[in-house]
């Protein structure tokens, strides 16, 4: 515990208070307050470390952080802000559920939150009840001094959070939920609802969800991907592929394209069955233990697959999987339920996490390392490349996708103004902080429109949802696709129209 604190202290000490991160921070751009800047949040975290009680106001500033990590890219002093915000999110979660905040006891003493079966069913509905029922019994540790605490609203917030975390990380539940949303879309009910204020009055998150729900996939999801896709031509690598929760439910065509591109480039693609969530959503929301459970499962699954690399096409998942080692290092080792048959007892989860993280590659990163084999066909269209935060800032991958795209004949790639600025999607941020998210979405859509591009390319499902929703709201017909889809179309010689370009 105190080791962790020492580590955090030393991270915080690296901050020289120069403010260079402020202009990069979306929330500072929105509100201009020190506490909604990286420098201010670091200052808040430091106070909590020093024993100050986390106030509701301070917790709110942590909640408002998108976790976009633009501040890390901007920081000349190399402050590892990701560690600061991860810790802060755990504190806020704990403070809300009445569990100890740092320094006041071992944090893993609480009830195993969300310990319900990982294997789906729609039991998540009870999940929604769990934490919120508990919340009802806990005292709010502090009243927001700015305008007083709206306890009711906070209860509702908690219910929303609980609901989100009992659905999103479970593809089957998520898929079940998309049914009604799609039905609403078919009948046009969604637009009528989204236009009105009713959903927002029920919950801003519901309103946001309705606005964001994507249309049916362009290409009918072609059922389940096979467990193994063989390399075309000589085999150059054996790779595992993560299908992701949001990606697999909302964008199955992206996964299909990823598998095809990898195969075309000479990779045997192993797609383990029954993949669960990688834990990114939980990790990025301060639910460390939940994230760790997902992580262990994912690690075990890909260990079994025996692959050279694990290719991830969702930037948020990739960045979380590269963090597994640090995540697990901060938690006690569980009993070896997940140990592999034949796995030596002595191999700790932390070591296994380290080994897996070392193999994780973003799709663009992997393809750039591998080098092209399949010929590309021309794709005459102007496309704007959007840097997903978890790719550009968290994984520092900006060059590779641009290289891949510029190698496609006739494709004109344009840069977005203020490219490093988050689109507001940020995991489930657009559900939890819909106001801020919408404003950022608006700004991103403005930037896209300013380029005159007919296509937006993004490497993260959340960004695609967010940007498409905003463009759609304005009646713009700019298609949003994943890097994998555009590569797939070029390799297969499909026309730009196949990507939804009108």
């Amino acid at each position: 515990m105190s080791d962790e604190h020492d580590q955090l202290r030393s991270v915080i000490k690296d901050c020289v208070h120069c403010g260079f991160c402020l202009p990069a921070c979306p929330t500072y751009q929105l509100w201009g307050e020190e506490m909604d800047s990286p420098r201010g949040r670091i200052y808040l975290a430091n106070q909590v470390l020093d024993g100050a009680e986390l106030t509701a106001a301070a917790a709110e500033h942590f909640d408002r952080c998108l976790g976009c990590m633009a501040c890390m890219t901007a920081c000349p002093s190399g402050v590892q802000y990701d560690q600061v915000i991860e810790a802060a999110r755990v504190w806020t979660e704990e403070a809300r559920s009445g569990e100890p905040v740092p320094g006041t006891g071992p944090r893993d003493a609480g009830p195993a939150r969300g310990a319900e079966a990982e294997d789906g069913g729609l039991a998540g509905v009870d999940g929604a009840e769990g934490p919120s029922a508990r919340a009802g019994g806990t005292t709010d540790r502090s009243i927001s001094p700015k305008g007083g605490a709206d306890v009711k609203r906070r209860l509702r917030d908690r219910a929303v959070r609980a609901a989100i975390f009992s659905v999103f990380p479970y593809p089957r539940r998520l898929r079940a939920l998309t049914g009604p949303l799609r039905a609403a879309q078919r009948t046009g009910l969604d637009r009528r609802l989204a236009r009105g204020t009713l959903p927002d009055r029920v919950s801003p998150a519901l309103g946001a969800a309705l606005r964001l729900a994507p249309p049916r996939p362009r290409e009918a999801a072609r059922g389940v991907l096979p467990e193994r896709v063989a390399a075309r031509g000589p085999r150059r690598a054996v790779v595992g592929m993560l299908t992701g929760c949001v990606q697999s439910v909302f964008f199955p065509q992206v996964n299909a394209a990823t598998a095809r591109v990898l195969a075309a480039e000479g990779c045997d693609v192993i797609i383990p069955r029954g993949q669960g969530c990688c834990g990114a959503l939980s990790l990025h929301s301060g639910r460390a233990e939940e994230a760790a459970r997902f992580a262990r499962r994912t690690i075990a699954q890909f260990e079994r697959a025996g692959v050279d690399a694990v290719v991830v096409n969702s930037a948020g998942c990739g960045s979380a999987m590269k963090e597994y080692e640090r995540l697990l290092a901060g938690l006690p080792e569980p009993d070896p339920t997940f140990a592999l048959a034949g796995q030596e007892e002595s191999v700790s989860w932390v070591a296994r996490a380290g080994a897996l993280s070392g193999k994780v590659r973003d799709l663009a990163e992997f393809l750039a390392e591998l080098g092209p084999a399949a010929p590309r066909h021309p794709l005459p269209v102007t496309a704007a490349y959007h840097d997903a935060c978890h790719l550009a800032h968290a994984q520092r991958i900006t060059r590779q996708p641009r290289e891949l795209l510029s190698a496609i004949p006739s494709l004109r790639v344009v840069e977005l103004p203020d490219a490093g600025m988050c689109c507001g999607s940020a995991g489930v941020y657009n559900l939890l902080q819909p106001g801020a998210a919408r404003e950022l979405g608006r700004r991103k859509a403005d930037a896209v429109l300013a380029t005159g591009a007919r296509l937006v390319i993004s490497a993260n499902p959340g960004c695609t949802l967010q940007i498409t929703a905003e463009l759609g709201r304005r009646g713009e017909s700019i298609a949003a696709v994943h890097t994998a889809e555009i590569l797939d179309a070029s390799i297969r010689g499909l026309p730009a129209g196949s990507l939804g370009v009108r």
Partner: protein
């Protein structure tokens, strides 16, 4: 008189002005404002308020003035002298929500911006017109134009292009009594006192800038950047002398020593020549033909001085790569040292070599590393004193060393600050540079604006004093007053507070030409009546606790002015909301002469107990 307002009592009033969500009272939130870029000075403000408009700012200041509560302006909090250090008993007024670029006028080549706008965004907004805002502090991505004005900030390119003061032509300010007024006419050609010049570099002690008119400079036709590596600082210094002696005025000449190169390398992997003891960055800009000729010349001068490698960049990307190392250097030092002090001193260029040598020996004696990054062209040194704040002995030694460096600068005929300001950090060095008469004269200026000493008190001057207080036991009447060269002067303090609305509890006075008043700027000459008013606010009125007036005041009045300014002085002033134009100003100032004296205040100012 108004009721005695406690700080807490201000909260609802401030909330009424700026909105409750823009008044910060949470202890954790308040603490995030406890320091600026200089973290060794800290004070948690009693309240923080973030106004959205000039009118809100004026109302806030007026409220503070009425309540006798000190206030401090803050921009982006990157200052390096503790200028924005809050007062524990005061209100911190943060300008970071006021960040609209109100106008870019490519024809007149100027922009009107709010103070919270960052330096770089002015250049970005001007770029489509082929213009830029020339002063470029290394902190330009985030420092605010308001902060730049207060600190008279410079940057690498100030050698050729000048400092903030050379690029600001008009200011809308809130005076320390809460009045909105304009200084300067936006043309840069001022008749009468250069009040803009007085305000720039005043470190937030003369009021709060709420709109700033800046000059925009055409982007040079050609820019060429050279990076030359030298085995030693002395060799690099020789190159600088050579370039200047040849009559070339580069846009910038910057130098970094081995230690700062190491830091920059760690931070941004700038890829400077390996093993260099010093790098020199020389940037030339201007008409293409001129730049081309100069590049050849500079190149050979650099070689002659013993450069081991020269790199040239004539495209934006490579130029940016060269500058990345230099611009990140301060913050990057965080990578090689737990803590550090950024010192800022100036020496005559001819003394550069000697002073750097002295710094090296001071550093060796103290056993404390010093990294040097500096504007070599104008002798502005930024020694970075590295230490571990975990050890109090080391922290103290670093402080001593950093002071010794300043002494060295003074000894060689230099100055204690080039561009970071005096703030709280260097006020104690002021007596080393100025004698008591000088300092008292500066106080006269300050008191003319801020007789109640509420506006960023405790900064710049070594001993915070209330205006009108005895400057020192040994002293009596100020020599300027004794010689009849200065007299009482009240206009700034007695003029009406012009408020946008009656949101403030106190009645708001719109005096003189009501049309002008209603638009926010006071009519020029409106102070005429005030000057004739008795100086009832002068003494105990403003002193918390009713400290009796000092005996040896320069009169009983709080504020003075230097002879020469007529009591009905003319503040070039133009209406708010309209961007200042020469035409406007001309009318405003000239018609003002005909403005009849205004009636006295319709209300009483609060008196002390």
């Amino acid at each position: 008189m108004t009721e005695a307002l406690t700080i807490e009592g201000l909260v609802p009033r401030l909330a009424a002005i700026a909105g409750r969500e823009n008044v910060i009272t949470d202890p954790l939130e308040l603490r995030t404002y406890e320091c600026d870029g200089l973290t060794s000075h800290r004070a948690v403000p009693a309240l923080v308020v973030l106004p959205a408009t000039a009118e809100e700012t004026a109302a806030i200041v007026a409220l503070c003035a009425a309540a006798g509560v000190p206030f401090v302006a803050r921009g982006s909090g990157t200052g390096l002298s503790g200028g924005a250090l809050p007062r524990e008993d005061g209100v911190l007024i943060v300008m970071s929500r006021m960040r609209r670029i109100i106008e870019i006028d490519p024809v007149s080549r100027r922009a009107v911006v709010e103070p919270g706008v960052t330096n770089l965004s002015v250049s970005k907004a001007a770029a489509p017109y082929g213009l830029f805002y020339a002063p470029d502090p290394s902190s330009q991505v985030i420092c605010s134009v308001g902060g730049n004005v207060a600190e008279n900030s410079g940057g690498a390119h100030c050698l050729k292009h000048g400092f903030t003061v050379h690029h600001v032509t008009g200011l809308e300010i809130v005076t320390p009594s809460g009045e909105l007024t304009w200084l300067g006419d936006g043309t840069g050609v001022v008749s009468g006192y250069d009040l803009v010049g007085a305000f720039i570099g005043s470190e937030g002690t003369l009021g709060i800038a709420t709109k700033i008119v800046v000059k925009l400079t055409p982007l040079p036709e050609a820019v060429h950047t050279l990076l030359a590596a030298y085995p030693t600082m002395a060799a690099g210094g020789a190159a600088v002398s050579g370039i200047i002696a040849a009559g070339i005025v580069p846009a910038a000449i910057e130098m970094m020593d081995a230690l700062s190169i190491e830091a920059a390398e760690a931070a941004v992997a700038c890829g400077y020549p390996e093993g260099a003891g010093a790098v020199l960055i020389v940037e030339l800009d201007g008409p293409a033909s001129e730049v081309e000729a100069e590049v050849g010349c500079v190149r050979s001068l650099c070689m002659k001085a013993g450069a081991t490698e020269i790199r040239a960049a004539d495209d934006a990307a490579r130029r940016a790569a060269i500058w990345a190392g230099r611009k990140s250097a301060f913050a990057a030092v965080g990578r090689i040292s737990p803590s550090f002090i950024v010192q800022d001193g100036v020496v005559p260029r001819t003394a550069l070599g000697a002073v750097l040598g002295r710094i090296a020996s001071l550093s060796a004696d103290a056993g404390i590393r010093v990294a040097n990054v500096f504007h070599a062209g104008d002798g502005n040194l930024h020694p970075l004193v590295l230490y571990d704040d975990g050890s109090s002995a080391e922290a103290e030694a670093a402080e001593v060393l950093s002071g010794a460096i300043l002494d060295t600068c003074i000894e060689y005929g230099g100055s204690i600050t080039g561009e970071h300001g005096v703030g709280v950090d260097k006020s104690r060095y002021m007596p080393k540079m100025f004698d008591a008469d000088d300092l008292d004269t500066m106080q006269l200026v300050r008191c003319a604006f801020d007789p109640a000493s509420l506006c960023n008190p405790g900064k710049v001057f070594p001993t915070p004093r209330l205006c009108g207080e005895v400057p020192g036991a040994r002293r009596g009447t100020h020599p300027a007053v004794a010689a009849g060269q200065a007299e009482l002067f009240l206009w700034f303090t007695e003029r009406a507070v012009v408020l946008p609305s009656a949101r403030l509890a106190r009645p708001c006075a719109l005096r003189g030409a009501s049309s002008l008043g209603a638009r926010g700027a006071s009519p020029p000459g409106a102070g005429g009546a005030s000057a004739a008013r008795p100086s009832r606010r002068a003494s105990a009125a403003r002193r918390p606790g009713g400290v009796p007036p000092a005996r040896h005041v320069y009169g009983t009045c709080a504020a003075r002015h230097v002879r020469g300014a007529s009591p009905t002085r003319r503040v070039p002033s133009f209406p708010r909301r309209t961007s200042p134009s020469a035409h406007h100003t001309y009318q405003a100032t000239h018609s003002s002469r005909r403005t009849p004296p205004s009636p006295p205040h319709p209300y009483q100012w609060p008196q002390g107990p």
